[in-house]
Structures are given as C-alpha cells and as structure tokens.
Amino acid sequence: MTQLALVIDLNVCVGCHACVTSCKEWNSSGWAGPMPDENPYGADPSGVFFNRVQTYEVGCFPHTETVHFPKSCLHCEDPPCVPVCPTGASYKRADNGIVLVDYDKCIGCKYCSWACPYGAREIDAQNKVMKKCTLCVDRVTDESLPEAERKPACVLACPTSARIFGDIHDPNSVASVAIREQGGYQLQPEWGTQPANHYLPRRRSQMQIHEDELIRADNPLRKEEVEMPIEQGDTLDDVAW
C-alpha cells in the first residue's frame, strides 16, 4: 500500500515561510480552497493555514540554537481524527494514505480537531467546515502535470530542499531512504498514531581542522619555518591563479 508523506529536514530548514505562503496560494485557489482570512489587515488578523513554520530556541544562552519547525497534518497511519467523525466526512484515502475532509459532508462539529493531538486541523469560519492539509492531493495525483511537478506546493517552494515528498511504504523511495539513513523520527510517537510525516533531526554541523592541514608539513617546498639563505621570491604555488 502506498503512504504518501513528507520528510522534513530540520537541519536544512531556514524558517523562511516559503512553504507556508505557497501552500496558502495553491490551496486558496485549488480544490481544497478557499482558506479564508478574517480581518487580514486589521488589529486582530486570523486565518486558515494548512502549514505553519514555528521557531524554537534550544539550549542556554549564549550556547543556543534556533530550530525552525514546519508543522502540518502528519497524515497518520492510524489517524485518531477519522473514527470520531460522526458523518464520515473525515477519511483516509485507501490508495495513497492521505487524510482528507469531504467538505460536502462535514457538519463543522470540530470533534476531529479535538481528537488530533497535533492541532493539525483548522476550522474555516466562513464555510463552517473543517479544513486541513491535503498533501496537495489535487497536484500529486494530477497526471496532466509533468512528473517533476506532481509534488505538494510546499515541497516545490522550499528553497533549501528541506522537504522531501514520497511514499514511505516503498523502501527505495527518497523519503524512505532519508528516514532510514538520517535518523528520521515521528512526532509524539507515544500516542500510537503512527504519523506518516517524518522529521530528520537537527545535527551539529562542525568541520574538524587539524593543524597539519594548515601548514604544509610534508611538503619539501614548504616555506614555513624554513630559513633560506637568500630571498626566494614567489614560487609558482604562491602566484597560482
């Protein structure tokens, strides 16, 4: 069975919110829309987003690091929001594992949002139905698009390629390989919801430079610490361009 999902690399995300805005753009005008804003230019703006980028500070000052954390629906393999829905509007697609809301069946009771421990669902206060990330189901299943564009809007927008999209049930997909080889993990695994989206951990990126790499220790033509009887002038190495 296919389970489409995102793998988000926290080591790469720079927190630019490009995925947030491109998600909003695509889904406002697409099948899942609209995503209404209320009072967008007023004192207390509010609106529907399927994707948010949050920022956390890790460590004690001055040894702190900033972690940018994109957060959207995780398309759980055992989604707690689906069985609680009284109308069957909330469902998980059998063919690709995407969790969706049928806007024509939703009665707007908000019970699914209570049942989601991640806060992934947001009510559309104007259309009075529950909305959520669709993993751009209208894009990824659209065979009229070139293969390379059959990806969620957020993935295509990410300037640092922090978001990988793929089938996590296919062991050879890019997403599965990334999870396997880079320590991919799930959010709040203690609830047993088995989120399909995974995150790649934040790592310390350091380059170890040894002293002998800075001086030409083994080079017979090295100039450091060598006293020459007369000035040698520049060698070919010194003027290489």
Partner: protein, 326 residues
C-alpha cells in the same frame, strides 16, 4: 479546552431530561410495588413526560449552535460503528421518541394490564415503553460521556469517572427537578424524589471529587521533547509562526486565570453538592414547597459551572505548539 456554551447547555439540559424521566419511571415502579399510592396518569406521568421532553428539546436546540452546518446534521447518524458522537445523535432522538410515546400512552390512559407475570405483576403498555426508554436514558448518558472519555490524549477526560459523573449528575439534577416539580404542584412524592436526589447528589460528589483529585495528580506525559523531537532539557518556543489569532489558539485555550478557575471550581463544588442537599433537608423539615425549587435552580446553575470547568480543566496536547506568539 475552550468551553462552548452550546455543549454545556446540551449536556446539562438533556441530563435533567434523562434524570427526570427516570424519576417518573421510578415513581411508576414504586407504585407497582405498592410502595407509594398509584399516581393519576394524566397529571403526573403525561405532564412529567412533556416536561422531560421539553428539556431534551432545549438541549437539542443548544446543540445546533455547536454545529457549523446544522442542515447536514442528519449525516451524523452514519458512522455509529466508530464514533460516539454518531451514537449520541442516534440515541437522543430515539430516547425522545420513547419519552413522547410514554407520555402519550399515559395521556390516553393505556394502563390496562396486557398480561400478568407470575400472576402478581401486571404489565401494561406504559411499563414496557418506560423500561425501553429507561434503557435508552442510560445508553444516552454513556454515549454523551464517551464522546469525551474516548479521547485518549485528553487525559483529564480519559477515565470511566467521566461516564460516572455525567450519569450521576444527570440523575441528581433530574430527580432534583422531580422533587421541585412535585413540591410546586403539591404531590406527596417530594420526599421520595428528594431522597433519591440527595443520594445521587452525594454519590456525584464522591465521583466528581475523585475525578478532580485524579486530574490534579496527572502529570504531562508529553513535552516539547517528543512534540518537536529535539532532546534537550532547555527548550522554549520563540514563535508559533504567526502574529494573529487562529483556530488553534482559540479552540483549545480557555483564556481564564488560575484564580478564576479556582473560583468557578469552588462555586460548583458548593452549588451542586452541599447546598442543594441542605435545602432539600430543610424543605423536608419545614415542609416548604419553595425550597426544593431553590435547590434545583441552584444545582442547575452549579452544573453549568461544573460543565464549564470540565472543559476548561482538559489540557489539549496541541497547546504545547502554541506557547509564544513571537
């Protein structure tokens, strides 16, 4: 969680309706067992059923305000296999129908025995409908409470005590109303209903008190460590990703201070449990017709506060993602 008054009124009003019906049926069973004199069918059971139905209808009307698309509410009967909310949507109208039929049967005086059990127990139509409706009343208590008690990561709700509280508090308020109504129209059943109301109120005090103590002792299983998957003892949110409000910051936060919560807790602990019991006891001693009404009114006010607190005390795990605006 943000307490929604639509749900507060729904759960408390249908609780009274269920309790009141069970009180009426208790009266019928007592009369059958010759513990109390047989009540006049029209005035007591028919009017009583009508009032119970009224509470249920009021609850149903309140529930409509919780829905974004009430015109599609009929769809909610479809997922009864998995959803307790769907089961409630089925059981509530069924119970209302049975209460209606019970009232109608009494109104037309269909109380002639249909058959006898063991030559001593006459079974009539109202008894059969009443028994079915009583089972529905308990099924409805279970469905309503399980909507909350089945959400496993809302740990304050995820306990059998939630079902027990809903049942006992519904019974207490229903019997309290029966006592108040009997006092108002001067039936001699005030003490019967009053005693049961006191019993259910005291049992409710024990079970609600237990759940309060349990919830106070709960420790968060979740934390930022697993929420964002970074293992560090010292982490905090700098930004939730937006400056304005959102569904996530409104629906899951009650937005009241700890002091306000404490005040509401003390109010309902006094108004639901000890004061109505004292009022009923005083009414019994003084044979007062108005004190049971005061007892019911105060208990219902307290129950609104109790239900408000029930929602406010549940801490949703999603809140950990919304701790800092910027």
């Amino acid at each position: 969680m943000h307490p929604a008054f639509s749900v507060i009124f729904l759960t408390t009003l249908i609780g009274i309706g269920q309790g009141l019906f069970l009180a009426l049926f208790t009266g019928q069973v007592y009369a059958l067992a010759n513990l109390i004199p047989v009540q006049e069918s029209l005035g007591f059971y028919a009017v009583g059923s009508l009032i119970a139905l009224l509470f249920l209808v009021l609850g149903l009307i309140a529930s409509v305000f919780h829905l974004g698309r009430p015109e599609r509410a009929w769809r909610a009967v479809t997922m009864w296999r998995t959803s307790w909310l769907s089961r409630e949507v089925i059981v509530l109208p069924l119970f209302m129908l049975l209460v209606f039929l019970y009232g109608v049967a009494h109104f037309f005086g269909l109380t002639q025995p249909l058959f006898m059990v063991a030559d001593t127990l006459p079974i009539d139509l109202t008894l059969i409908i009443g028994l079915l409706a009583s089972m529905m009343a308990f099924a409805l208590f279970i469905c309503t409470a399980m909507i909350y008690a089945s959400l496993k990561f809302l740990k304050e709700w995820y306990t059998p005590l939630t079902v027990l509280n809903y049942t006992l508090l519904g019974l207490a308020s229903g019997f309290m109303f029966a006592a108040a109504f009997s006092a108002y129209v001067s039936f001699d059943l005030v003490s019967l209903f009053g005693i049961w109301a006191v019993i259910f109120t005291l049992l409710g005090a024990v079970s609600r008190g237990t759940s309060l103590a349990r919830n106070r002792a709960l420790r968060d299983k979740y934390g930022l460590t697993t929420a964002i998957g970074v293992r560090h003892p010292n982490m905090k949110q700098l930004s939730q990703g937006f400056m304005g409000g959102a569904f996530n910051t409104r629906e899951f936060f009650h937005g009241r201070t700890a002091g306000a919560l404490r005040l509401i807790r003390w109010f309902f602990l006094l108004a639901v449990f000890p004061i109505p019991v004292v009022l009923i006891a005083t009414a019994y001693a003084l044979e007062s017709p108005s004190l049971p009404i005061a007892a019911f009114a105060l208990q219902y006010l307290g129950l609104i506060a109790e239900r408000w607190y029930f929602f406010a005390e549940a801490k949703h795990p999603q809140n950990i993602y919304y701790q800092s605006m910027a």
